[in-house]
Amino acid sequence: MTEAISTTGLTKFYGEHRGVIDVDLGIREGEVFGLLGPNGSGKTTCIRLFLDLIHPTSGSATILGLNSQADSVRIRQEVGYLPGDFVTYEKLTGRDLLEYFANLRGHGMAHAESLAERFDLDLTRKIGELSRGNRQKVGLVQAFMSDPRLLILDEPTSALDPLLQQEFHRMVLEETAAGKTLFISSHMLSEVEIICDRVGIIREGSLAAIEEIATLRERVLTRVEIEFSDPVSAADFHGLDGVTDVVVSDHRLTCSVTGTVDSLIKAAARHTVIRMESAQPGLEEVFLAFYSDDADKEGPGAA
């Protein structure tokens, strides 16, 4: 099976400034891949290198089996792209813009019209008059309308309300069912974990790790707080599988859990539980999981 995206030592410096350093990435066709990292970590740089909008300082990228620089026009024929900040011709109406890009891509408007309808998007209004969310819809429509083999989406749901995010997730599922590949960047784990099969974690321009979502969940620390009806003893919770940082004060327990919460739940069940809260791990926690001593032993960048 050919790889949809494959990079070797991909490096980009903007003069003195770091873009990305030595990125080795292999994304299978048909996969939904998430690139996760904080702002300024190099996500957008990667994407712009794939589309040949910027050129690598060293290393190379192969997109759908084609060289990102030599065959960039053929690549872009097969790629739908949504930039992080979708800015386009403000004086054009949505329909005019989609028609222009459809002409440049050599296809009709039928799919664009049906996508716009699906997003409940008014194509007669000028793009400059649209709200940020509606403009993002135009961006999504133009990315999906050519029915591309590969979709590269930079923070696609950032401006969408929850309902539209769900609609977007459904579209992603349909695309994968049709065998398409998606490359999605985000700075929120919660966004990528719903839709992605694998996640690459990028930090200060370097790829720190590539993990299956399931594996990632196992390694990520979840903060758990349990309130019991009676005071409990910390000893009951020490030495449980994946449970650390146990602190008991009176009838309240806080701890960190990696992987499954099963052993904690079973231990807690011996007491009467009033309330249980677990915090969705943020990006900080994901990084902590990967930069703790444990992660270092296995080596960052281990795929």
Binding site: V73, P83, F86, N103, L104
Partner: protein, 265 residues
């Protein structure tokens, strides 16, 4: 008008093309309608002949005002015509690529399956088409005005002078487009090109009477545009080729550079 980059660019500048064309046509009409008044004003040519050489360089010598061609050469093709055409060309040239880049639309355009060279050449084509509209409008203004005012105008002289003006406009516009494409900087493209025009004009007009600066006029675009008074003496092929050559080098360099540089978000 949204079929390709060329037509889209024309669509973007359709209002500008319309207004500037009205401007050049109005200039053609105004000057031709005004000419008989000057021609019939007795004593004016005597006055001119008594002027020092430097003032004649500035406002024209006696011949300028006694023939229609001489008058149009001075009033249309020495200052106002080049000014209007150059302003249009520089604005269109800077907007073409650097303008799109600075308004953040170039990124999305280039994400489509189209080569940068094609984008550059189609935008250059749109600029040349716009200039053609201005030139035709000027021609219509001049010919119609001469008919209304009732004097004969050399059609070949007029056509050649307009052609020369067109080449000047193309040079200025494509120079601005090229600098913008090569650097992505609109201000730089407009500033440098306007500088080339203004310095060229000064060198060829006012400073041509300063002996020390005489050799410097060869670096002036205005020297190649109209130093030999195209309206009166016909087009100078070598001069036109010099402008076309300069433009060709600028565009070729821009194509090379634009293809290799990073496009900003």
């Amino acid at each position: 008008m949204l079929r390709n980059v060329y037509l889209k660019s024309l669509r973007d500048s359709r209002k500008s093309i319309l207004f500037y064309s009205i401007g050049t046509m109005a200039l053609g009409l105004y000057v031709t309608l005004f000419y008989p008044t000057i021609r019939d004003a007795t004593g004016f040519t005597d006055f001119l002949e008594d002027l020092p050489e430097v003032f004649q360089a500035l406002i024209g010598d006696a011949e300028t005002y006694t023939t229609a061609e001489g008058f149009l050469n001075a009033e249309v093709f020495s200052f106002m015509g080049p000014l209007i055409v150059s302003v249009f060309a520089i604005i269109a040239g800077t907007a073409a690529i650097a303008g799109e880049e600075e308004s953040h639309t170039l990124d999305q355009l280039l994400a489509n399956p189209i080569s940068r060279t094609s984008v550059l050449l189609q935008k250059a084509g749109a600029l040349l088409t716009g200039l053609l509209a201005l030139s035709v409008a000027l021609g219509i203004g001049l010919v119609a005005g001469s008919k209304i005012a009732g004097f004969d105008l050399s059609i070949t002289g007029t056509a050649q002078a307009i052609a020369s003006l067109y080449v000047l406009g193309a040079t200025m516009g494509l120079l601005a487009l090229s600098i913008g494409a090569a650097t992505g900087r609109k201000g730089l493209a407009g500033g440098v090109t306007a500088g080339v025009g203004v310095v060229g004009f000064l060198l060829d007009t006012f400073l041509s009477v300063v002996e020390v600066l005489e050799p410097a006029r060869f670096i002036s675009v205005f020297y190649y545009f109209n130093n030999n008074d195209v309206m009166l003496n016909g087009i100078n092929a070598a001069h036109m080729l010099a402008l076309v050559g300069l433009t060709g080098v600028a565009v070729a360099t821009a194509v090379w550079r634009f293809d290799r540089r990073d496009v900003s978000v």
